[in-house]
């Protein structure tokens, strides 16, 4: 470890007597985030990933401003128009502006991916922490349950859930919610396993024993003492998972199981583009590039974070 690395790791707060609890807390938060930022900037991969993610998120937020056309309004006079100053990415077979569709599609995709990972974390973390911590029968039952989910091959669980939900003829946002539910449900097993693995190790540490001795309740120990120590592998996994889920969303809508047209959608748009790709290959390019970019951003960031959080690898 270099000197500067040591310094940044050693930056801690000093508390004086006339500090208010709030001031201490704010300063602590500041130190922690300053340290985190320092670490982050040291990894080129993580920095690049972070920049790409920030760019992606800003574009998602600014979509209404950046888009030049209504993404769903057909214009039959301008079908399959080439790339031009009017249509940056050209138009599709209904004459819709591909640039605007890519932007709006991205907004939806990123939102769904983030929500799905969040849902998976909410389901998986408690399950993992409690099975790792309590062990015994609860652990055995819940892990077999998790294994059962993992044994569901490939995309089939999503296909089943989404087709199932199709029967309710849901519209708009509800469709996205089903997608989030399906993706989140399938994120749960991996998160639970990962959390359990770390919790299992942590549960044998002295500080847990100490907490027991002091008389803290088991649930309290699991959530307040053990959970915070399981966080770093989870952050890495969740980041990489975001990229993976964007790929799954695209694949599902490519198969026609995403949000029904005319909603802009990367995978769905690629699927429609197939009809005309022989004569107009460009329409099959942009949505694909958008998917690639977003997945790459999360993968880069995840790689970088892993290097930072797992010193065994980074200092090799």
């Amino acid at each position: 470890m270099t000197d500067s690395q040591l310094q940044s790791r050693q930056r801690v707060d000093t508390v004086s007597t006339d500090d208010t609890p709030l001031a201490i807390r704010i300063r602590h938060l500041r130190t922690v985030s300053k340290n985190a930022l320092d670490e982050l900037l040291k990894s080129r991969t993580a920095t690049m990933g972070a920049i790409m993610i920030i760019l992606l998120l800003s574009v998602c937020f600014l979509t209404p401003v950046l888009a030049t056309h209504n993404p769903t309004k057909p214009n039959y006079r301008e079908r399959l128009a080439p790339v031009s100053a009017e249509h940056y990415f050209g138009t599709d077979k209904f004459g819709r502006d591909i640039y605007s569709r890519v932007l709006y599609g991205g907004q939806r995709t990123v939102f769904i991916a983030v929500a799905a990972v969040a849902f998976g974390l909410i389901l998986g973390i408690p399950l993992g922490v409690f099975s790792g911590f309590f062990g015994g029968r609860f652990d055995a039952v819940s892990m077999r349950f998790v294994d059962g989910f993992i044994a569901f091959p490939g995309l089939l669980l999503y296909l089943l859930i989404i087709t199932l939900a199709r029967e309710w003829r849901l519209e708009g946002v509800w469709n996205d919610l089903i997608l989030i539910f399906a993706l989140g449900l399938n994120t749960m097993p991996e998160i639970a396993r990962l959390t359990r693995g770390t919790a299992l190790v942590e549960a044998k540490r002295e500080y847990v024993e100490a907490a027991h001795v002091v008389g803290e309740g088991s649930v309290f120990i699991a959530l307040r003492e053990i959970l915070p120590n399981c966080v770093s592998p989870l952050i890495v996994n969740a980041t990489v998972r975001l990229g993976y889920i964007i790929l799954i969303i695209a694949a599902l809508s490519f198969l026609g199981l995403g949000t029904p047209p005319p909603t802009p959608d990367w995978g769905g748009d690629l699927s429609t583009a197939r009809d005309h790709m022989e004569s107009h290959p460009m329409i099959a390019i942009f949505p694909g590039l958008a998917i690639c970019y977003s997945v790459l951003a999360f993968n880069l960031f995840g790689d970088g974070l892993r290097d930072i959080l797992d010193p065994r690898i980074s200092e090799r």
Partner: protein, 316 residues
């Protein structure tokens, strides 16, 4: 070892049991009346026809009875008849599984053939241009959507250059040469993504091995570098690569649905996908269960193989 193996085999029984409940539950939660689909709406309104069909497929019994009848027969290898084609489900599956296996096996083999040399080279020449090129390529490889890569390949090799057929399937034993001809693009699409994974894995496990003490010892004994790398290090570094490739194979069995649909490949994923859309529930149940069992069994074999190859791993 034997005790461990028996233990692991016993463990998969509840997993398969839970998987079967999940599949059955999901499938029977599918709204939409199977009888309507089967007999057409008019005939379904005739109570006699309805009753006869319900009797034929056992739909008039309570749900848990249906489950036990199904699982009981399934254990004897009888999955009933397809509601759509009225043929035994077994025949349907047996026709489809080989195509998927063929694609998955060739894809995985291809990926290992590319990834192992590339990953090794990248690790041996760490931080060289070769290493960076390998790292960037593999990062892009895991970020690119498989189906988009497939579309781009079709665009280039079938439509633009007209070298390869864009889709279709010929059985290997009917005409090996044409069969391989049709296999190239799909296998390339499967292999590229897998190769990206495997390259990253090989590189990092090679780096792990190279930094170990026995390598220094071997070098100080004056062994030639090539012997140190290829005889000792690589052999150890390949253990995780083999393991993960095995797990990937299991994943691919249900994970090639999208590629199968692009290349009109008559695999099991496609079959289950179509059955889901047609509500052909005996085929869905059997397909998912069979694939799930294959996944669990492959995982088990890989796990056991890993422990045989790497006796240092505990049997806990």
């Amino acid at each position: 070892m034997l005790i461990y193996a028996i233990n692991r085999i016993l463990q998969i029984i509840p997993v398969i049991f839970i998987l079967s409940i999940l599949v059955f539950g999901f499938v029977h939660a599918l709204p939409g009346d199977v009888i309507d689909t089967m007999a057409g709406v008019e005939a379904a309104e005739d109570p006699e026809v309805r009753a006869a069909l319900e009797e034929e497929f056992g739909l008039n019994k309570p749900i848990y009875v249906q489950y036990f009848i199904w699982i009981g027969k399934a254990m004897q290898g009888d999955f009933g008849k397809s509601l759509v084609t009225r043929r035994p489900v077994n025949t349907e599956l047996i026709e489809r599984i080989p195509a998927t296996m063929y694609l998955a096996l060739v894809g995985i083999t291809l990926s290992v053939l590319i990834a192992v040399p590339l990953g090794t080279l990248a690790a041996v020449r760490r931080n060289s241009p070769t290493d960076y090129a390998a790292q960037v390529t593999s990062l892009i490889g895991i970020s690119i959507p498989e189906f988009w890569f497939a579309i781009l390949c079709i665009l280039l090799f079938s439509l633009h250059l007209a070298w390869l057929p864009s889709s279709g399937y010929v059985e290997f034993f009917d005409d090996p040469q044409r069969s391989l001809w049709y296999l190239i693009l799909p296998a390339l699409a499967v292999g590229f993504r897998q190769a990206a994974f495997t390259t990253r894995l090989t590189r990092s496990s090679m780096l792990d091995e190279i930094s170990k003490e026995y390598v220094d010892t071997a070098r100080s004994l004056g062994l030639p570098e090539s012997k140190v790398i290829y005889k000792y290090t690589l052999r150890n570094a390949l253990i995780p690569t083999i393991t993960i490739s095995g797990l990937q194979l299991a994943n691919l069995l249900g994970g090639t649905v999208v590629l199968e649909s692009i290349f009109a490949w008559p695999g099991i994923g496609q079959a289950i996908f179509q059955s889901i859309q047609l509500r052909d529930f005996p085929v869905i149940q059997a397909g998912v269960l069979v694939l799930g069992v294959m996944v669990v069994v492959i995982n088990l074999l890989v796990d056991l193989l890993y422990r045989v190859l790497n006796p240092r791993v505990g049997m806990g």
